[in-house]
Amino acid sequence: MAGGLFMTLAKSLIHPILALIFAPLMLGVIGRTKAILAGREGPPLAQPYHDLRKLLGKGAVYSRTTTWIFRAGPMIGLASTIVAVLLVPFGSCPAPLAFPGDLILFAYLLGLARLCTVLAALDTGSAFEGMGASREVLFSALAEPALLLGLAAVARETRSLSLSGMQAAQTLSAWSGAWLPLSLVAVALGVVLLSENSRIPVDDPNTHLELTMIHEVMVLDHGGPDLAFILYGAALKMWALAALLIGTVLPIRVGLPYTWPVDVALSLASMLGIAVGVGVVESTMARLRMSRVPQLLIFATTLSTLALVFEFGGLIR
């Protein structure tokens, strides 16, 4: 029995370790996909790692107008994102932290990270950063119901209030019985993934135009290790939301007790697929006009709500 417990513990630590190591690779894959589709060779896949190493080796410069909030922002942001990753199951391995209601903690740990970034941005007193903070808060407030209502639909479907419980109950046969609401949730979470990670069509991570940025403009004043924390935190957030999508909504796994290494590999492949998908979306469509972004997020919320209605009403089973 002790061996079984040890095994479960070891399995549950696989995901955090994979996430901490491979999260920046997702950004590398997105960048490479975009480059190839544009007919360029593009930066190496490991470029985000080189960037992080470079930034960690630099000193930080702080404006005289900022306070401790500005310095604390990146650290609290990264710490809360790491804790959020600990709540997400992967493959058929449960998360190291799991309890009923952890999905709410997950949503608000990401919220805490955002709050710290926003406070640090406001702390600089710059007009740009204030503008970026206002946009970030508006769009995340609209993305939040899409995420929570979507997870509520999955919770109803799997009769579990924990992310790991949802993952355990989410099998191919269960999925085939509720494919419609779950597909709606998958699309909604996909939109949330793009929006929360400031990707096209919501934000453009490559723009140098300070007036159009959302996330990037908030971190303009950060440099050196602080910026490295922010970039690493952003990569982890992307990983966490993608792992949440494939862990709780898309059962791409075998799910037998002894196939867990296969399931981990399948999930890694799915993560890769999501990164390529984001790269393809960014290569084939323009960014939305900023005043249209709320419509996209409300669309995602509507899908989640519809999924929840289907789940409770049992309309299509």
Binding site: L37, L211, A286, R289
Partner: protein
């Protein structure tokens, strides 16, 4: 002379003796200009020049589209005169320039602020009563402000996040909505007009070619035409054709680059990547002719320095045909992409009346349906023989400005291919131009890729430049950008800005 009396009109490419230019009383000068502008004329240039007994002589060059003629008027002023701007908005920048350069106050000007932040040319006369030795810091002036509890001000530049030229932009915003944008430039002021005085000499051409680095061919052609008019020099036909080819290649390169940059600003990568490369292809075609990607050292008074031999002509044709085909493909996906069109359409609309009143030029004006193109209206050189039909659109938005560029790429492409296929024989350079006609003025127009370029050269008794006035299209169009931003989302500013793509150094001189 009364306001309705006919003005001394003449062909636009002939020199005018200063003695023949009517010097009017200030009121008559003013009413003559207003009368002609109301009757469909346009101000090509309005500038001051040091006059007798520390007075300033104002010259106004008016252009008439119907007859391709110009009229030049003059008036002597001391320290102030009644402003034209309240009745004729297209004079607004010229009058601010006169105030800054000569310390002459256009009384009643609604927006009298420095534009380039340099001391007055006339010692002891300053329109803003600044002391003689006082440091003048660019961008430090009284900006228009909107007050209110929910109104906020966003200041951008002069140092930007991207590698671009310096300029200062002040937005008065309500949330994301822009009530007003004020643009303050002058950071790139190099004193080109004053450095031209005393020329032409060895420095003159390099100076002209650097008025705006991306419009080297346009400005060099305008300068060459002015010198040729003043010296009575005739340009061989082959040189005229090559000048046309170089000018259109400059247009092709910049328009293709602009379409790519517009795609990049909305995050549409395919066109952004292709057009970035294609701009280089067109620049390299110019380099194949003269060794410089920006057409430097190609245009000289009397002709061009480099000929295109048959084998290079063939190489040029092959390269251009390939590049033009690629541009067609790269822009087709731009027009076919709904997400791009959703961003371009109805963004940054400039109404046609506003474009007309403010005297906007180039693709920015043609996108509003203002049919104005000096290649057709005031043709010089090869454009007398080969017409490029002007391309217009009627929406005045970012889409219009982008689409007009595409239409111009097609027409300029056809023109260039046709000219290279049928280059006239003969030399590419006549004998160097002789001395310039003394005490005379020559006006020269070129349709650069941003719009009409106007150079006015005035010679002294020795046949040297006593005054050289450069009107770059950016000088006229920056106000158009400010107008386009009214009631727009501040996040659309970079897109609107790119759709104008104006030159900072062309404005700052």
């Amino acid at each position: 002379m009364s306001a309705n009396a006919p003005l001394p009109m003449g062909p636009h490419d002939r020199p005018i003796r200063l003695a023949e230019i009517p010097v009017l009383a200030v009121d008559a000068f003013r009413s003559a200009i207003l009368g002609q502008v109301n009757a469909g004329g346009r101000i090509a240039a309005l500038f001051g020049m040091a006059g007798e007994s520390n007075r300033v002589r104002l010259y106004a060059v008016l252009m008439y589209l119907e007859t391709a003629e110009i009229a030049v008027l003059a008036a002597d002023v001391a320290d102030e005169y009644p402003s034209l701007t309240p009745d004729c908005p297209q004079a607004h920048m010229f009058e601010r320039e006169i105030a800054e350069q000569w310390g002459v106050i256009p009384r009643g000007h609604p927006w009298l602020k420095p534009i380039r932040f340099h001391p007055s040319y006339r010692a002891g006369h300053d329109a803003w009563s600044r002391a003689a030795g006082e440091a003048i810091v660019p961008g430090v002036t009284d900006f228009f402000r909107v007050e209110g509890p929910e109104v906020h001000e966003v200041a951008v530049g002069p140092i930007h996040a991207g590698v671009i030229e310096p300029g200062h932009f002040r937005f008065q915003c309500h949330g994301e909505k822009v009530f007003h944008l004020e643009i303050s430039l002058g950071f790139q002021h190099r004193g080109i007009e004053r450095a031209m005085v005393g020329g032409p000499d060895k420095r003159t051409l390099p100076l002209v070619e650097s008025i705006a680095g991306d419009t080297s061919v346009g400005h060099a052609t305008a300068y060459a035409q002015a010198v040729e008019a003043l010296s009575g020099c005739r340009v061989p036909l082959r040189a005229q054709a090559l000048r046309g080819v170089a000018l259109e290649l400059e247009r092709l390169a910049n328009h293709a680059g602009d379409l790519g940059a517009l795609a990049n600003d909305v995050g549409y990568l395919p066109t952004a990547s292709f057009c970035g490369r294609l701009r280089g292809d067109f620049l390299n075609a110019t380099a194949l002719i003269c060794g410089s990607r920006f057409g430097r050292c190609l245009i000289r008074p009397g002709g061009v320095l480099w000929d295109v031999e048959p084998d290079r002509a063939e190489q040029l044709l092959a390269r251009l045909q390939a590049a033009l085909d690629d541009v067609a493909g790269a822009t087709k996906i731009l027009w076919d992409s709904l997400s791009v069109q959703a961003r371009f359409e109805d963004t940054g609309v400039v109404p046609a009346e506003v474009a007309q009143d403010l005297g906007l030029v180039g693709p920015a004006a043609r996108a509003c349906g203002v049919d104005r193109d000096v290649r057709r209206d005031f043709p010089t050189g090869i454009y007398r023989f080969a017409l490029i039909p002007p391309s217009t659109w009627n929406t005045g938005d970012v889409f219009g400005r982008a689409y007009v560029r595409w239409l111009e790429i097609r027409r300029s492409g056809q023109f260039v291919l046709q000219q290279i296929k049928s280059l006239p024989g003969g030399p590419v350079r006549s004998k160097p131009p002789g001395p310039l006609l003394p005490e005379a003025m020559a006006v020269s127009f070129v349709e650069g890729w941003r719009g009409s370029i106007c150079h006015v050269a005035v010679t002294d008794a020795a046949g040297k430049f006593a005054r050289y006035k450069v009107v770059d299209p950016s000088f006229r169009n920056w106000i158009g950008l400010a107008m386009a931003l009214r009631d727009q989302q501040i996040s659309d500013f970079p897109l609107c800005n790119k759709s104008f793509n104006l030159s900072y150094c062309g404005h700052d001189l």
